[in-house]
């Protein structure tokens, strides 16, 4: 298991809707803020790259010392009204799963993203969940942490 790993999901409005520190390293007090800072700083890079490739898994797009940022961009989350589409095209249409990690296990990270993506779809299908709102489900949290232990 990776010593440092921070996982967040960013909604299409650039709002973080889920965050988890899943590394095994002893927690430093400022670590959470630092990780958040690095991940948020990488958002612009994600946006640039996402338009140039059709791949969903973007590995190691940014680094900070020994920490690496990998991203999994979900497919276009369409809005149905056309004038909305024009506006939202200027920002971003994707939900992004972002992982900050120090391991080099690309296959594991990819599998992790794919399985979390499936969990995220299940959350989206819950009629009582409002898309774009915070994911408060403890079930989801437990599953994500289990996946992190398995793959990272």
């Amino acid at each position: 298991m990776a010593t440092t790993a921070c996982f967040i999901i960013v909604s299409r409005n650039d709002i973080p809707i889920y965050e988890a520190e899943v590394g095994s390293a002893a927690k430093r007090e400022d670590a959470a803020q630092l990780h958040q800072f690095i991940l948020h700083a990488a958002l612009d890079i994600v946006q640039d790259i996402a338009w140039t490739t059709s791949a969903m898994f973007l590995k190691a797009i940014d680094r900070f010392n020994d920490l690496v940022v990998s991203v999994y961009v979900t497919a276009v989350f369409c809005r149905y009204i056309s004038y909305n589409l024009i506006f939202s095209l200027t920002t971003s249409l994707h939900t992004r799963l972002m992982l900050l990690h120090d391991s080099r296990n690309d296959d594991g990270i990819k599998s992790f993203f794919q399985e979390v993506h499936e969990l995220y779809i299940k959350v989206l299908l819950n009629p009582l969940y409002l898309p774009g709102s915070r994911i408060a489900s403890s079930h989801f949290d437990t599953k994500v942490r289990a996946l992190a232990r398995k793959y990272l």
Partner: protein, 186 residues
């Protein structure tokens, strides 16, 4: 006494028109979601779902009787079995079981192990008092009322609240005698 035929809804279920399960689940979810937005109070949503179920039930019973060919039920026990085995199978595609009879045979539990309405659903903290499937209790109440049985249907167990199954308690309040609708002098 000879058992009343048929005892399972499989044959009828195979012949009725069906819709995609996810379409069905998500449509119901959208209704509940909208009710929560419109009514704001969880209690009100429960009431409204029950009322909607009642309105479905009083119509659904006709379709049920027309398609299922069940013979007249001899007692309430018989009725509960038919609801669980034929009714649920015919309209939801699942089979329920009947248990927990009380001594005088007027109160029992219908237990659903599997419920297509709640696929994907997880109750968030803001809707803790919600009986998500309250429409089902309304359907049973409405349907039984049309065959002259006043009942009270309540949820005892709910998987969304962490129980291991769905359990509906059906209590027979009174049997309304059938009335001849015309008076002699009219």
């Amino acid at each position: 006494m000879a058992p009343v035929a048929p005892r399972s809804g499989d044959a009828i279920f195979a012949n009725v028109e069906r819709v995609n399960a996810e379409l069905f689940t998500l449509t119901y979810g959208a209704i509940v979601r909208q009710l929560l937005t419109d009514l704001e109070e969880v209690e009100e949503v429960n009431k409204q779902l029950d009322q909607m179920g009642y309105n479905i039930g009083i119509r659904l019973i006709d379709e049920f009787l027309a398609k299922s060919n069940v013979a007249r039920c001899v007692d309430f026990k018989d009725t509960a079995e038919v609801i669980a085995k034929v009714g649920f199978k015919m309209f939801l595609g699942v089979t329920a079981s009947v248990s927990n009879w009380d001594a005088d045979g007027t109160c029992c539990s219908i237990v659903l192990e599997d419920n297509p309405l709640v696929d994907f659903v997880e109750l968030p903290d803001t809707c803790q008092g919600l009986y998500y499937c309250n429409v089902l209790s309304g359907v049973i109440r409405g349907a039984l009322e049309m065959v002259s049985m006043k009942t009270e249907v309540t949820w005892v167990r709910d998987m969304l609240r962490g129980d291991d199954a769905f359990e509906l308690q059906v209590k027979l309040l009174k049997q309304v005698p059938e009335e001849y609708p015309y008076k002699d002098d009219e």
